[in-house]
Amino acid sequence: MKFIDEYQNSELAKGLAKRIATQSTKPIRLMEFCGGHTHAIMRYGIRQLVPKTVEMRSGPGCPVCVTATADLDKAIALAHLPKVIITTFGDMIRVPGSYSSLQQARAEGADIRVVYSTIDAVEIAKANPEKSVIFIGIGFETTAPTIAASILKAQREKIENFHVLSLNKLTPPVMKALLDLGEVKLDGIICPGHVSVTIGSHPYEFIPKNYGVACVISGFEPLDILLCIDKLVEQIENGQPGVEIAYSRGVKPEGNPKALELMGKVFEIGEANWRGIGAVPQSGLKIRREYGHFDADKAFSGLLRFAGSDKPAKEPKGCRCGDVVRGAAMPPECKLFRKVCTPERPIGPCMVSSEGACAAYYQYESSSSSPYSSPLKGEVR
């Protein structure tokens, strides 16, 4: 397949792996920020291709995993309000909150629908004028422009019953938070590909400058990731950390101005709550006052308080998802991993999402198999 096969060529991969092995003399630790990278690294066996000197850690780049339990509880509470339809990306519905999950709420009668695009959520609002349709906005700079576009569409078409619970988060600020924390010493970061399509390479420049950590933006095919590791090793070995793009077919240094403009028009930057990290200043996207009507937080906060849905959030006992998203623990280091916590009965979000590190480890490196369950959403027979 054109534009895919070229990036999965095994001869080129072997060549790159060899070059990395030749170049790499000292032990280094890299973090892949993005859950999509974690998945690809495990799926293609990239850990087996790189030399033992290169240690890889997963970071806080799975949108579902970093959503704070309190925010998830709020989404579940919204789902229980009368005349509300919740629309969300698929993985979200299975994540356990403090007391319930969206899936559980759906089984109890709440109207919760999985959508593939924010525009679908707007269409659902259009088709159900008597209901309030709330989209649970999760994700990074990848999904934020599409959510902004959906709000603008709703405004343009006067679809007043469309709302967004904005839990959207920003990548560079949380990288800074992790580096400031200093818990996991990093030499290089595999920077997210799709996020960087939007934001470009400039926003990472403070990382090599202030922290001496190498940054290379990678695509999601195996050759992209190997090339990225190659460039990171080269930067680190030479003692010259910088920001490079190893995904030039997707990423320009200045990013995508149109997407950035949309984001800036609808959202302003504010604090966000991250699972495992806590409140990180300047790391979230809030809906601007001009679009306040579409902000589910504003529109429903009174109703939520009235419904008494403000019980304190609590984390699942023994779950180390918080440590996993910081890169402070590898999934098998969690006592629950594979014993209590499995994709069928996930305790924490990292086991739920296909982009979660625990799910990727479980799927590709487990020693036991899981009982059968349906592979597609809904029946295919």
């Binding site: 799926r43 698929g90 739920v352 198999s369 027979r381």
Partner: protein, 338 residues
Amino acid sequence: MGQAMSDTILLAHGSGGKLSHDLVQKRFLPFLANPALNKLDDSAIFEASGRLAFTTDSYVVNPIFFPSGDIGKLAVCGTVNDLSMSGAKPVYLSLSMIIEEGLPLDELDRVVQSIKTAAEEAEVQIITGDTKVVNQGQADKLFINTSGIGIIPLGIDISGANAKAGDKVILSGTIGDHGIAIMSQREGLRFSVPVESDCAPLSKLVSQMLEASSRIHCLRDPTRGGLATTLNEFAQQSNVGIMIEEDKIPITEGVRAACELLGLDPICVANEGKLVAIVEPEDADKVLTQMKQNGYGRDAAIIGEVTNDHPGRVVMKTKLGPSRIINMPSGELLPRIC
């Protein structure tokens, strides 16, 4: 309103009275007629001897019509294939329908027509049946159950527990077509290369394979859960390891592109017209050549072999060289968001 009402299934169609009678006489018998069914007695009576295979399955697919198939074709092919995977030649099916009130009659006709077509191709007769009508909301348009009886030829012993080290793993064609076709239809995803369901009866393919060799040890159709599930079942039932090679697995451009786009693993996606065979190594080429003669086995390939290493587990050599474990998929397959 009266006009519209008469074109749809009513609760009265399930009452057992005149409308029920008409439904059977006008909408089922003309398509499915055969001596055993035509009698309309409480049971179908038939002669059979030898080793018999008996299976049942229910079909609740949504949507009921999808690219290159519908729930009727699926209900025949699914049960025919389950019989075939035991090495049996399917002969008789039962057909039981649970219809949601309000189903347009022309949709029912289309489903019955495709049941007829699929049954003819598979050379099976539907000899007994039942219909029930339920209130709106109590079923999703149409649910079908089929049970089937097949005859196992002498000397055939096929089971998921029969794989042994050295055996070859043969896959009959491209993977993931059915699952992606359903998903694209259900979610309104459109691809420039449309993906069609591979739903097909495999009974003839299996009898041709058995003519080529009686040393086919395991047969299974990788439906829900895909190739990954079937291979894991073999590995566990036979307590052997299975090693496959990623670049030997046939897959269409359309399915590959859709899976790349959605972040799905095609080996976990459902098929409805494919089979996996574990075959004595010396007979593998012979079986493969025979399979390629049949339209449903045209793209068949040897994708790996059975080994004594890692018993109970399936390992795949990826395109890049490293190997990875293939687990059974768990949970729903959901597109990525990142």
